[in-house]
């Protein structure tokens, strides 16, 4: 248990009342929803829509703070002239409900990228308006490796409130932050005092596969081992699915989309796995080979970001490996790197 946290009991049947209170006070509720055989985060209004028994959503929850595409500016074109309109950040208060600890932890990585040097009002406004209600994992699968990268199935980092299902009827509630207290304060009668309930025996067992320290210390020495990167990426298609589903991948593109006289400048997700990502106008490409782009992906997450921004670029959610059409498994590859002699 988190020492500073307040413990409560919330009955599952009380979620309806909690959701009503939150939506009545103007909150947007994002929660896992089962659709077409997948579970994804979507806007909901009642607990009946929510699937809390999921192991992992296909795409991550990062869209809550960093949408797939986000309009920044609007241009109304008049010949070669234009009226430029700045599009303000989204200020709706949002509750991200039922997100697993890996996704909650990813918010710290995203924040580090978007704020390390200069402010980003789009990201920061969304993050300020976001309350995270985490959900401990009672089950994992072979792709989960949070415990190898500093996480845990009951990790509280990034959550304002963490729920752990005690049985079918009750959650143990850890209220972790001021935002969490505000959320519980919206319906205080729903949060009963806890009576010595423990979450530990409810949590999934995820066996660590490697140590972060082993990886980060070895990677700089492995950079020039071209054969390693070529072998690991031989079957990589460069499709970018791994980055698309990743909770910490934050590279983006900025594009103008125009329909006749109306144009929007937007930013959208991009990936270092794409050849076009770094291609110069001259035709020169600093990372021309897929193996170099795979190396960039691994180095960036496990070496460059920790060194530069002090955050690991991976939370062990395993989505990239579940989504990969050619079954490349990040945890397996990173484990191999961690065990390689240098």
């Amino acid at each position: 248990m988190n020492p500073g946290s307040e413990l409560r009991i919330l009955r599952t049947e009380a979620l309806g009342e909690l959701f009503s209170r939150l939506t009545a006070s103007g909150h947007r509720l994002l929660a896992p929803v089962r659709r077409d055989g997948r579970v994804e985060f979507a806007e909901v209004s009642s607990p009946q829509e929510v699937a809390l028994d999921y192991i992992q959503t296909t795409t991550s929850a990062k869209a809550a703070v960093f949408p797939r595409y986000e309009p920044l500016l609007r241009f109304r074109l008049r010949g070669k002239a234009a009226d430029v309109q700045e599009l303000p950040p989204d200020t709706r208060p949002t509750v991200l409900f039922g997100v697993h600890p890996c996704d909650a932890a990813s918010l710290a990585t995203l924040k580090a990228v978007f704020t390390w040097d200069s402010p980003d009002p789009y990201f920061e406004t969304r993050l300020q308006q976001l309350t995270v209600v985490g959900l401990s994992c009672t089950r994992g699968d072979a792709y989960c490796f949070c415990t190898s990268v500093g996480g845990a199935p009951g990790d509280t980092r990034g959550s304002d409130v963490l729920l752990t299902p005690l049985d079918d009827d009750r959650f143990l509630v850890e209220i972790l932050t001021e935002k969490g207290r505000t959320l519980a304060g919206a319906a205080p009668q729903l949060f009963a005092p806890a009576n010595g309930e423990q979450k530990e025996n409810r949590l999934a067992k995820i066996t660590p596969r490697f140590g972060v320290e082993q990886v980060t210390s070895r990677l700089p020495k492995l950079f020039d081992r071209t054969e390693v990167w070529v072998e690991q990426s031989l079957r990589c298609l460069g499709c970018g699915a791994c980055a698309f589903v990743c909770p910490t991948c934050s590279c983006f593109d900025i594009q103008d989309e125009r329909q006749r006289y109306d144009s929007v400048r937007l930013r959208c997700w991009d990936s270092c796995g794409f050849k076009l990502f770094t291609l110069h106008a001259s035709g020169h490409n600093p990372r021309a080979r897929q193996s170099e782009r795979w190396r960039q992906r691994v180095m960036h997450k496990f070496s460059y970001q920790p060194e530069r921004l002090g955050v690991l670029g991976c939370v062990g959610c395993g989505r990239c490996s579940r989504a990969c059409p050619v079954d490349m498994n990040l945890a397996e590859h990173v484990q191999a790197l961690a065990e390689m002699s240098v």
């Binding site: 430029v84 590279c251 270092c272 020169h284």
Partner: protein, 279 residues
């Protein structure tokens, strides 16, 4: 909005268009808002994001020196969607600009030193800013030498300024074109930049070398400079990695742990030697 939107461009009016070479133009730009013009400052080596509304943004250095007030210039080759739209703009048209971004050439640390500028093709623009900056403060520097090469005579940019530098007694200018790129009346050298540099054999004593050009030129020029006795911390270049945001977020310009848009674009060879060769 409480925080200024880092992605909003300032409108700038094109006040002069100069045809430099086939497909290469220079735009002179002035801020539409006089208050923005008043507080805008930059230093040699910095770059910006230039927008055509409805088409997108492109990254170019500021090619004019900070010693020339009231305007900035950019020089670009028409290659893709944005530069094609830029090439379609005339004097009087409005485009967008955000910047200045990135670090600078430390020209104040170079006082009293000789400067050797080596440029290839469309990479003269980032250097032109430094050259004019130093020429406008001429008495602070020792000898100033410029070696500039292009594929063909037609591809040399800033032809009028090359003529001016060539006629100045306080500048030593050498121009060259690739073999086959010369015209019958060409008076300059014929040969690739590294070859001509080796023939010129400039002294490395108390001298800073500034090198900008296509990757192949840089790669082949560095060993020549080393042979001439230039140490890695006396050689400067600017990286041309692709960028989108310009403010250290989009990840596109990353070379190892370095953000070219924040830590660069100006690097010494000593700094480049510590990075992966992904530029």
């Amino acid at each position: 909005m409480t925080v200024a939107n880092p992605y909003a461009p300032y409108p700038m009016r094109i006040t002069r268009v100069t045809e430099e070479a086939p497909g290469v133009r220079t735009l002179r730009l002035e801020f539409v808002d006089p208050q923005v013009a008043e507080r805008f400052t930059f230093k040699a080596g910095q770059f910006g994001e230039y927008s055509v509304f409805g088409e997108g943004e492109s990254t170019f250095c500021i090619a004019s020196p900070p010693t020339r007030k009231g305007y900035i210039e950019c020089t670009f080759r028409q290659m893709g969607r944005v530069t094609t739209a830029l090439a379609d703009r005339d004097e009087g048209d409005i485009i967008g600009f955000r910047g200045p971004y990135g670090n600078i050439f430390p020209i104040e640390d170079w006082h009293g030193k000789n400067l050797l500028f080596i440029a290839g093709g469309i990479a003269l623009p980032p250097m032109r800013c430094v050259i004019w900056n130093c020429l406008d403060l001429r008495d602070r520097y020792g000898d100033i030498s410029i070696l500039y090469g292009a594929r063909t005579v037609a591809d040399l940019v800033y032809k009028h300024e090359l003529a001016e530098w060539g006629s100045r007694s306080d500048v030593k200018l050498t121009t060259t074109v690739d073999p086959g790129g010369q015209t019958p009346d060409w008076k300059g050298q014929v040969g690739f930049v590294p070859t001509i540099l080796e023939q010129l054999a400039p002294s490395s004593a108390n001298t800073i070398a500034i090198v900008c050009g296509p990757p192949i030129m840089i790669k082949l020029t560095m060993p020549v400079l080393a042979k001439l006795g230039f140490t890695p911390d006396a050689i400067y270049t600017t990286l041309e990695n692709r960028m989108k945001c310009g403010v250290g977020k989009c990840g596109r310009c990353n070379v190892g742990k370095v953000y070219v848009c924040k830590d660069g674009p100006v690097f010494t060879l000593a700094q480049l030697n510590t990075l992966p060769a992904e530029y």
